[in-house]
Assembly symmetry: C2
DNA sequence: ATCCAACTTGCATTATTATTCTTTATAATG
DNA sequence: CATTATAAAGAATAATAATGCAAGTTGGAT
């Protein structure tokens, strides 16, 4: 069954989870059936993945689906990077296109991981020792902005 | 058994999901074991719930845990409300402490649901008909701000 | 000290979600 | 058309997560 139906179905799905508090895929199967669209849980699972829906924790302990097309991953990694840098950055120095970031002993890998995961523009890669991280930037110009960005996030 | 360990365990849990890409609770059980903290999947599940961790969809299709204490619910409902109002509000009128919002036939309940879920300050409650929503505000003063807010969101 | 109530946690089980495998339908191509 | 390729979706199943229950623990209050 090639579909003219799929887009409409996913649209309804979105509407359903936006306007109701849905906490299981079987609920969606039923809700959609009542709207005249009959599908199986398997299809709902795939649709939810495609529209990027996730389950969030409700205050009352029940979890509900939401669509939230926020650049979530992005936002959160930056938040995280800020926390990490703020907590563990001792100093930021540089030379040419290299940036050297110092941390407390043993913490370099944690910070480097956060840096890698945040994908900073202009950064080619990082190498972490025990208390030092070497950050390789594309060129001197990029290095300037990278250093500025790092210091800002670190609160230096 | 041991209760002095719980806070530390949850802290480690947080760190683990922040610095790695974890996609299943069993992974966490193993990771924690390698850090010297031995727990079962059941405990991890409960801890994740307590710290509010959720699973988000990675671009590559794999889902990873994240802690993100975003005012997510808040943000999204306002976003959603804006979308809904923008799409279905025909006009906003009022009288004393009552606001009357008109929508296309059959859409009133959708809009009312969005309104209810966004919990607007000063609104006591709503009643939805087929194409009309009656919004009861606390008093005339509140009504003024509610009307302004609604029109703004609706783009009127 | 003894008891009680509120917590924690593991185990076992259930509930929920993701995926594999297969079938069918639609489109594309010669 | 016939044929092949591709996308979709269901059924069954595997994988993952949540939970009921019972067994400790702890920190008071009596």
């Amino acid at each position: 069954m090639k579909s003219t139906k799929k887009p409409q179905r996913q649209h309804l799905l979105k509407r359903l989870i936006e306007t109701n508090s849905i906490s299981a895929q079987t609920q969606l199967v039923e809700a959609m059936a009542s709207k005249g669209i009959q599908v199986t849980q398997a299809t709902v699972a795939r649709d939810l993945a495609e529209i990027g829906a996730i389950k969030v924790r409700g205050q009352n302990g029940i979890n509900v689906y939401t669509v939230d097309e926020l650049p979530q991953k992005q936002t959160t990694t930056v938040q995280h990077l800020k926390r990490v840098l703020g907590e563990w950055t001792i100093e930021v120095k540089y030379s040419a296109n290299l940036v050297v970031l110092r941390t407390p002993p043993g913490s370099a890998h944690v910070v480097a991981s956060a840096l890698d995961r945040s994908g900073i523009q202009g950064v080619l890669g990082t190498v972490a020792g025990d208390d030092t991280i070497l950050i390789v930037t594309e060129n001197n110009l990029k290095r300037v902005s990278v250093v500025k960005y790092l210091k800002e996030l670190a609160g230096l």
